[in-house]
Amino acid sequence: MTAPGAGLPPVLGRPSAAAGQPAALRPEGSAGRAAYRADEGQDEHWSLRAASVAGVHHRLAGADAEDAYAWRRAGESIVVAVGDGVGSRSGSAAAALVAVHAGCEAASALVGQDAPDPRVACEEAVGAANRAVRAGTGATTLVVAVAGPEGHCSLARVGDSTAMVLAAGEWRALFPSRAADSVSSNATAALPADAPSIEAAECILRPGEALVVMTDGIADPLRDGPTTVAPALAAGMVTPPAAVELLTLLDFSRHGCHDDRTIVGLWRRRPEDG
């Protein structure tokens, strides 16, 4: 890792010439479509940090990012969702946004009921997102996570957006990735689908550990950079960083890594966190 200057994104691995070029001025912009988005907050149980940056490819082309994130509190639980609009279809940025909102809304409604089963809530969230996305023209991946106050997390996903646990400075994948020796697949499952291919996962977070939900724009370099990206992100997220710090870290330069990047971290708070 190259040490960043004050407030500058770091270089993680082989530097990218493209990442250093100025972004094109897009034809129109607004706060909701910003190339850089970040958020933070905490309650009794959780600290949440979210950051999303438009990929270098989109920035140089003067195009909007196609990732989205959302969260929704549900009593003592919290629902987090991340989506990655599939760029070859128009309307995919909108699809990602619709999916994460519909997923959070559906899951939080179920979790708030008397006998909540977070696994069912996650699957219902994907179903609700699938129906919502059908109204538009785009397509999106989706990961939904329901985290309970005792640290139990249930997740469901469609496509290659993913989630990991960050514990003691190490990343642990919650979903399988491609085989190590194979040539990368060129196909991504996405919503809408007649019968979405849903993968489920569960984990239990101990106090201080984080559930990190992310799009492939960050998951791929994290897997591909075990001595650069993975330790730098782990070090930067060992405790909840300020949202703007996470945003800067997420905007690292790395050769050939120019997809949109979105990450939502959910740290289970420790008693000493106050």
């Binding site: 691995g13 082989r14 990218s16 010439a17 493209a18 070029q21 990929g55 270098v56 490819h57 989109h58 140089l60 082309a61 196609e66 990655d84 609009g85 599939v86 760029g87 070859s88 991946t141 496509g159 290659d160 190490e170 990343w171 994948a173 190590a180 020796d181 194979s182 040539v183 990368s184 697949s185 060129n186 196909a187 991504t188 996405a190 799009t215 492939d216 724009g217 791929d220 897997r223 591909d224 950079g225 075990p226 001595t227 650069t228 993975a230 790395r254 050769h255 050939g256 890594c257 120019h258 997809d259």
Partner: protein, 231 residues
């Protein structure tokens, strides 16, 4: 995390070009004039330039690597191609299989992670080797048990046989294209090269859109070869 090696994604493209005697004259002049334009097109999109790897294999009686798989930003000049000899599809497919396998291992050694390679097969004629020989070489290239088997787009003009091209592209829809009957190579080849350049750039850009894919080119004077449906 089990993996401890740094990886960088690359999308390899191989142009597999018929360099038999019938390509001499206008078709090959056009190829030699336009191939260097790929470098310029890729250079316009620096994010895409970082992921594209491009190589050229030419074939007639035998097959050669004319341009080894390269990062185009490091290539000073694309070699010119000379047309001569017959049209051995078997030589082309055998050479491609060996080249892809060798390139993959060399590339992995340098820390690359490959998207499935793409072969762009261009021919103006029918195979001059016997069917059993070229089909057997083709089977080795497309063997799904071989992890590196490429996706193949094929393009034909002149005397090329649509049925043979459909076979080369494994009878997959929108993978095999043939020039309109009577179309002049002087018209078809420049269009084809321009379309291929756009296809390579668009395919590579799709790596950053969440759905990496092989984007077929738009070539107005060529039409997709229909593929039969099985019962």
């Amino acid at each position: 995390m089990v993996n401890a090696e740094e990886r960088y994604a690359v999308f390899p493209f191989y142009l597999c070009l018929d360099a038999s005697a019938s390509m001499a004259g206008t078709p090959m002049e056009s190829v030699n004039r336009q191939l260097p334009l790929l470098r310029a097109a890729v250079g316009e999109d620096p994010a895409v330039a970082e992921v594209i790897r491009f190589g050229v294999v030419t074939f007639n009686d035998v097959a050669h690597t004319t341009l080894p798989l390269s990062d185009l930003s490091l290539v000073e000049a694309v070699p010119t191609v000379v047309a001569a000899g017959r049209t051995s599809y078997a030589a082309a497919f055998d050479h491609l299989r060996q080249t892809i396998e060798d390139d993959y291992h060399a590339s992995r050694g340098k820390g690359d992670r490959w998207y499935r390679p793409a072969v762009i097969f261009v021919s103006d004629g029918r195979p001059t080797d016997d069917p059993e020989r070229w089909q057997s070489a083709h089977s080795r290239l497309t063997d799904t048990g071989w992890k590196r088997h490429p996706n193949i787009l094929s393009f034909g003009f002149g005397d090329a046989d649509p049925a043979v091209l459909a076979h080369v592209s494994e009878r997959k829809p929108h993978r095999a294209f043939i020039a309109a009957e009577g179309a002049e190579p002087a018209t078809v080849v420049p269009e084809l090269l321009a379309g291929l350049i756009q296809s390579i750039v668009s395919s590579s850009a799709s790596v950053y859109s969440g759905e990496a894919q092989l984007v077929p080119p738009e070539v107005p004077s060529m039409t997709p070869i229909p593929v039969d449906e099985l019962d």
